[in-house]
């Protein structure tokens, strides 16, 4: 059975387990890991093989050496498909891979059949297409929260790859990596629950209310663009057309009107609830449960109620 390469960046995330689960339907799963491999976890979800690549040539430069590593591996093992995460870096590696191999690619898939047919949600989640790579092998990036990860134990063989980065791969140096505050919350795009605040939250300090509810529900915090532009919350938490696309089990919109560009990033959520003082706010058109009211009254009461029930 042909190998299927699953490219793992920045440690094993939920999307990694989803990719391993999907990959099992297409062939024998091989993980390509940059940095230290979590062999136990990857094996638990069915990786038969793990290729690792590390060192200054991988860490010290932006993306390009990683694409070279994957391209070399593709040429050697002739995999049935290459899966990457639909993250900035995953898409960037995929882009370079497509050019190196003169191959098609599909981004943001939410499903992938055994024959390489990918399902993609397009036009802000309002339509679904099925597509196929018609030149070369399927190179597909998978969006987080697409499938439920399912374990399937395997004992992976580990092979360390030599990194042969070219001069062209070393044109962009990474001189510093800075982690900004995130705490213990789940990552926005992978979270099962997302609690977002909008302009209605009023100021940066009040976002504590949004964070409190998120923490009580075990969710991530998101924000509308108006909230981000007003400086209430950092940009990497923006949900919408020009921010992150999220598809959690539960999306809570607090003081968000529900503009089309905001919906673009959240309307495929399973369940949506909203608190807004304007009964006419468009967010109510997609909310499964809506409370028309002042979030400064409704949210603290809800938080108390959750604490009571715990």
């Amino acid at each position: 059975m042909a190998e299927v390469l699953v490219v793992v960046e920045n440690g094993v995330k939920k999307v990694t387990l989803e990719m391993l689960t999907i990959a099992r339907g297409l062939g024998s799963v091989s993980a390509v890991v940059f940095g230290d491999a979590d062999t136990a976890k990857l094996g638990e979800f069915g990786a038969e093989k793990i290729y690792t690549a590390s060192g200054e040539d991988v860490d010290g430069y932006l993306v390009a050496p990683k694409a070279t590593v994957v391209a070399e591996l593709v040429k050697r093992v002739q995999p049935a498909a290459v899966l990457l995460a639909s993250t900035q870096e995953g898409k960037e590696i995929a882009a370079r891979l497509a050019i190196k191999l003169d191959n098609g690619l599909l981004t943001d898939a939410v499903g992938l059949d055994a024959d390489g047919t990918a399902t993609q949600a397009i036009f802000a989640g309002s339509a679904i297409v099925k597509s196929k790579v018609t030149k070369g092998l399927p190179i597909v990036t998978i969006r987080p929260n697409s499938v439920t990860p399912e374990p399937s134990a395997a004992t992976p063989a580990v092979e360390e790859l030599t990194v042969a980065a070219s001069d062209a791969d070393k044109l962009t140096k990474v001189v510093e990596r800075v982690a900004e505050q995130k705490g213990s919350r789940p990552e926005l795009t992978e979270a099962g629950i997302v609690v977002s605040g909008g302009r209605g939250v009023g100021n940066a300090d009040n976002f504590k209310l949004v964070e409190e509810l998120a923490d009580l529900l075990g969710g991530a915090v998101g924000a509308s663009r108006a909230a981000v532009d007003s400086g209430y919350y950092p940009h990497q938490f923006q949900v919408g057309q020009t921010g992150k696309t999220v598809s959690p089990q539960l999306y809570v919109a607090l003081g968000i009107s529900g503009a089309i560009q905001h919906r673009a990033g959240m309307q495929t959520s399973k369940t949506i609830v909203a608190v807004n003082k304007d009964a006419e706010a468009p967010i109510f058109e997609l909310a499964d449960f809506g409370v028309v009211g002042d979030l400064f009254k409704v949210v603290p009461q809800a938080a108390d109620e959750i604490r009571k029930r715990k």
Partner: protein, 258 residues
């Protein structure tokens, strides 16, 4: 510095209503707009030209109708534009589009190429790295801050975890997010001046790209099925009369979230 800005025209996919405040200038006739992120790219190019001198060229690969977006881009201040248009381009995939952009860029000898981080229609975020790969130049993508010091570029690149500082020398391609600056509005003078700025039209033949490599004929992927998702419908809506929070939690409990 010779700067080329990549500008893509995208369908205004229902954003028209909310765009009205910002784009009241030409809203009635516009069903297509400049990809929003590319306006930040134009602004960044103009700022660099103002600080360091040079020339700014807009480059678009797109149908004849994209001229409208090109004129709008020029009205912000760039010096000239190159428009690659050819009937054979219809249906091009990202790989093919990048090949055409790369062919055009080879004729333009840019020190610096600036693009948007992603287009709002496809949201693929792949073109900048494809171009870097094709042209053999450095790519500094996802910039929220760009500093130019002679031929040395430093970018603060937004990541999920925070940011990275990356550096490279020109020639390079930089892609920008909307956090990098505040695009200027075209002035009346700018709009008038844009009408006279040179827009060079190039065909695939001019660039030595064969028609079979692009468009539907050369597509590297294919859509097999398309279906609209049923629109979401609103569910229960309660007005808070003192127990809104409790009612909300009761709902969350029935859905097993608490």
């Amino acid at each position: 510095m010779n700067i080329v800005v990549l500008v893509k025209q995208v369908p205004d996919s229902g954003a028209e209503r909310t765009l009205s405040a910002d784009y009241s200038v030409d809203r009635a006739s516009a069903s297509n707009v400049i990809n929003e992120m590319d306006e930040y790219a134009i602004e960044e190019a103009l700022k660099i030209k103002e600080a360091h001198g040079g020339e700014v060229t807009v480059l678009t690969v797109g149908p004849a109708g994209a001229t409208e977006s090109i004129r709008k881009a020029l009205s912000m201040g760039p010096d000239k534009a190159v428009h690659v248009q050819d009937d054979a381009l219809h249906g091009s995939c990202a790989v093919a589009t990048s090949k055409v952009l790369a062919a055009a860029l080879r004729t333009l000898n840019a020190d610096l190429i600036i693009s948007g981080a992603e287009s709002t229609d496809g949201r693929v975020q792949v073109v900048p790295h494809m171009l870097a790969e094709l042209l053999g130049v450095a790519a500094l993508t996802g910039a929220r801050k760009l500093t130019v010091d002679g031929s040395q570029l430093t970018v603060e690149r937004q990541t999920d975890e925070g940011y990275e500082v990356v550096t490279a020398a020109t020639p390079a391609i930089v892609s920008v997010w909307d956090t990098i600056n505040e695009p200027r509005y075209p002035s009346f003078k700018g709009i008038m001046a844009a009408k006279k700025k040179p827009v060079q039209s190039l065909s695939l033949g001019d660039l030595g790209v064969s028609a079979g490599e692009v468009g539907s004929a050369g597509a590297t992927s294919q859509v097999l099925e398309y279906s609209k998702r049923p629109a979401r419908t609103g569910g229960a809506k309660v007005v808070d009369e003192g127990t809104g929070g409790e009612q909300l939690v009761a709902y969350l409990a029935t859905e097993k979230f608490v």
